[in-house]
């Protein structure tokens, strides 16, 4: 079997036993990229076919022994272009590593020299908003991989990455994971440092793993988590060994099924697959019961006010002054206007304008302030449920992957596809998506599990148990 077909844990064991070298793993990945990436387009800024991609293995040994990881294009990697797949950050070479990158390097990991495709600045749910064009779903090349971490998810699904880092603000790890039939986790807000993650919405963003199985996600989460004094929003709590949570049983766990997540608009195939998955959890010993998260209907509007407001401010720094694209112009105002008009894509502009409006004089109280208050209500819904339940289970997305171009003309429809993932970010709780079935067209469906803050252990326990008692994680996309 090709090395790129193994899981991270399997390869790490082989590395430790010196049966293989990390150089061989890299070669296998490059070979797989040659085989698949002209169709999948998971990676950006690739060199032409006849040029070798330089290999720079990590000299430090650590537990990773040079093992490579694919990184989303919005995480700063020193000396390696980080552009958020936007024209306005063209050529930006960070002079520093994000904290998660530093942690990976300290553990002996190698940063894969090609970055993963994404929706520009993480604005999107399909990776169609990338300056470099869309990524194609390995399970159906006419279909989107989901977004905004579509490149990371597609690469893992195609085995052109063993594991990858994505970022999640409203579902951008979990939704592409579900569309691509892989595992994706958004940690608790504050669990993983945001230092070096190019910000979209500061109060919602988190970096997390996208992997082939739950065990790999547990390993990677352990490596990247932890308090960072450089991030005022990171929390000083010890990081447990998450692999200890992979007990393989869930007897007696109380699982809440929120009624608001099973309403109109849900694809009937997805509904059936999810209901079967919930039954499976019952068979494995879990007690399922209906719960209510009454403020669910407000999640999408609240999110699109708060997230765009924060984004409008976070993206103000892209102005052509210090780095990135600068439009030719005759004076300061012209430089600002032209650089941003030419440098930003449509969706970026849409969100910046929305966010600016929400914060503007006369509208702040009615929109932004009100949204902050409703956010608290949404969080309280979860607090209440977690008093009595160990976890909450829902679909990750109301549908499986849609076709490329199908929703890109209808931003509102696109926004509504985030409905199951968004509340999680608003409440700051952790959540994981795992594969739980396929539609008749052969497109993956994801099951989402949520837990209370800093209880990633619960997610790994439930997810791993489900995974080990099903075969979904063993199926591979045919490319």
């Amino acid at each position: 079997m090709e090395l790129n077909q193994f899981t991270a844990q399997e390869l790490l064991e082989k590395l430790k036993a010196r049966q293989i070298s990390s150089g061989e793993i890299l070669e296998s990945l490059y070979a797989r990229i040659k085989e698949t990436d002209s169709q999948v387009k998971a990676y950006v800024r690739k060199r032409p076919e006849n040029k070798d991609i330089p290999i720079s293995l990590n000299e430090e040994k650590g537990m990773l022994n040079g093992f490579p990881i694919t990184v989303k294009d919005n995480i700063c990697t020193e000396g390696l272009a980080t552009e958020c797949c936007s024209k306005i950050l063209q050529g930006f070479l960070p002079p520093y590593d994000a904290t998660v990158i530093r942690k990976i390097k300290q553990n002996g990991g190698t940063i894969f020299p090609l970055k993963a495709n994404m929706d520009e600045f993480a604005f999107g749910s399909s990776t169609e908003n990338s300056f470099f064009g869309p990524t194609h779903n390995p399970w159906g090349l006419d279909y989107v991989p989901g977004g905004s971490s579509g490149g990371s998810a597609a690469a893992v699904a195609a085995s052109s990455a063993i594991w990858a880092l994505g970022s999640d603000t409203g579902g951008s790890i979990r939704q592409p994971a579900s569309f691509c039939g892989v595992v994706g986790l958004k940690p608790t807000y504050g669990r993983v440092s945001r230092y070096g993650l190019i910000a979209f919405a500061s109060s919602l963003d988190q970096i997390g793993p996208i992997t082939k199985n739950v065990r790999d996600a547990a390993i990677l989460t352990g490596i990247i988590s932890g308090y960072d004094p450089k991030d005022s929003t990171s929390v000083n709590l010890p990081v447990p060994d998450y692999t200890q949570s992979l007990t393989g049983e869930i007897k007696g766990l109380k699982i809440g099924i929120p009624k608001e997540y099973f309403v109109e608009g849900m694809d009937p195939e997805v509904k059936e697959i999810i209901e079967e998955a919930i039954n499976k959890l019952k068979n494995l010993g879990g007690f399922t019961s209906q719960v209510s998260l009454p403020h669910t209907e407000y999640a999408v509007p609240v999110y699109y006010i708060i997230a765009t407001a924060e984004a409008s401010s976070n993206l103000a720094r892209f102005d052509g002054v210090q780095y990135g694209y600068r439009a030719p112009s005759n004076n300061l105002i012209e430089m600002y206007k032209l650089t941003r008009a030419e440098g930003f894509g449509q969706e970026a502009k849409r969100r910046i304008i929305l966010g600016t409006f929400a914060l503007s004089h006369g509208y702040y109280d009615a929109y932004y302030l009100r949204a902050l208050k409703v956010r608290t209500l949404i969080k309280q819904d979860f607090d209440r449920v977690f008093n009595d339940f160990d976890c909450i289970v829902t679909p990750t997305s109301p549908t499986s992957a849609f076709k490329i171009g199908e929703r890109s003309q209808d931003p509102l429809k696109m926004y509504l596809s985030d409905i199951y993932t968004i509340s999680v970010n608003l409440a700051g709780i952790p959540a994981i998506s795992i594969p739980c079935g396929f539609t008749k067209k052969g497109l993956p469906v994801g099951l989402q599990i949520m837990a209370k803050p800093f209880n990633e252990e619960m997610l790994f326990r439930v997810a791993h148990t489900f995974e080990q008692n099903t075969e979904w994680h063993k199926l591979k996309a045919k490319l």
Partner: protein, 477 residues
Amino acid sequence: MKYQTVIGLEVHLQLNTKTKAFCGCSTDFGKAPNSNVCPVCLGLPGSLPVYNREALNSAIKLALAFDCQIQEHTKFDRKNYFYPDLPKNYQISQFDLPLSKNGYLDLYSQDGIKRIGITRIHLEEDAGKLIHEPGASLVDFNRTGIPLLEIVSEPDLNSPQEAFDYLTSLKNIIEYLDVSDCDMEKGSLRCDANISLRLAGAKELGVKTELKNMNSFKGVKDALTFEVARQTQLLETDEKMIQETRLWDAENGQTVSMRTKEGAKDYRYFPDPDLTVFVIDPATVAEIKARLPELPQEKMDRLIKEYGLTEYDAKILVSSKKDAKFAEDCIRDYPGKDKKEIVNWLIGPLLSEANMRNMQLHELKLERKELINLVGFVQKQEISHLSAKNVLNQLIGSSRSAGDLIREGNFAQISDTQALNGIIETVIQENEKSVNDFKSGKTNALMYLVGQVMKKSSGKANPKVVGQLISRRLTDV
């Protein structure tokens, strides 16, 4: 006065912390451009701010010195606007939950005490520096992120002079706290003013004018003075006043309109999500309060009480913290019971010497014990007051002792009757008119004659003794 002047001042103060407000970069002044920078203060993508605890403590210290209420919950807000000296295109500042509010500063004058309200003192970060050259503008980010405090006064000042006094007192207190260099020339203290006029007795405020670009306290006073005249004229001629910002043009002594408030900026303030809400522990505030140094007014009151100084004398001594320390040390070490002597020397001849050399008292190269010795010699009448002033002049910057200088310069006072009688005789001979004036009862004439003896003796004669001798001599005969 037909019109009442209403002035409010906004002072921006750079704190003298070693590192910047949100990162560990040095705040050292005068370094090569863009050398004190890092991803955070450059606002590079992905960077995050972490607040400087020392800056917070300095801010609390200052707020307490003005008797402000420290807010238990405070937060940072983003002030959004585009400018090349602002790398994130927003400034981290404070909007609706400032660190402190409702304090005051008392102004002391011969008319009594006037209380000037301080609306708020809040935290923010400084921007970079733009340098314009033909064909290009350059940005230096060394200054970006230096911690600033904004001190906003209530519109309680009613004249340009009061504004000047407010700034002087403010600077004095800040100096005592040692939280800033407060040097307007170096830019560590900046001041904008808001001024309006209204009919005396009116309740509502007039149309406000914002003044900027004043580079010294005197500049502030001059700009305000010009504005009072300009606005008075406008009001008298019934011209419509518009709310605007004007720049002080020091060279031409006038204010010039910058922009009208019609296009007032919307900064879209919102809580900075990268920084959490701060809870300020009352115990920390209490601890900082306990460690507050003695402030100028307190020190003044104490000097008056302990050493019997007059208010006037005490005020001069406390006007500079380091000078106050120097003076207090001298007063304390002075062996005499009546401290008036040493105080007079400090605020009289020594202050003159300092002013002449364009220095502060404590900067003079003068050994405390030598000054005290010198004053002692005067007390013991071994040297005249006039001669002592000469010795003082030479003592500063010299490594010689007072005693040595007196001996070498032959400054010793001549009190010996025999030595003096000779000179006295000569003077009496040469000044017949004055002698007659004195005999006919004009006491001024005695002063004149003593003066002549002092002149002839190069200031060394003991004037008291001379006076007695002349007096006896002339009444006897």
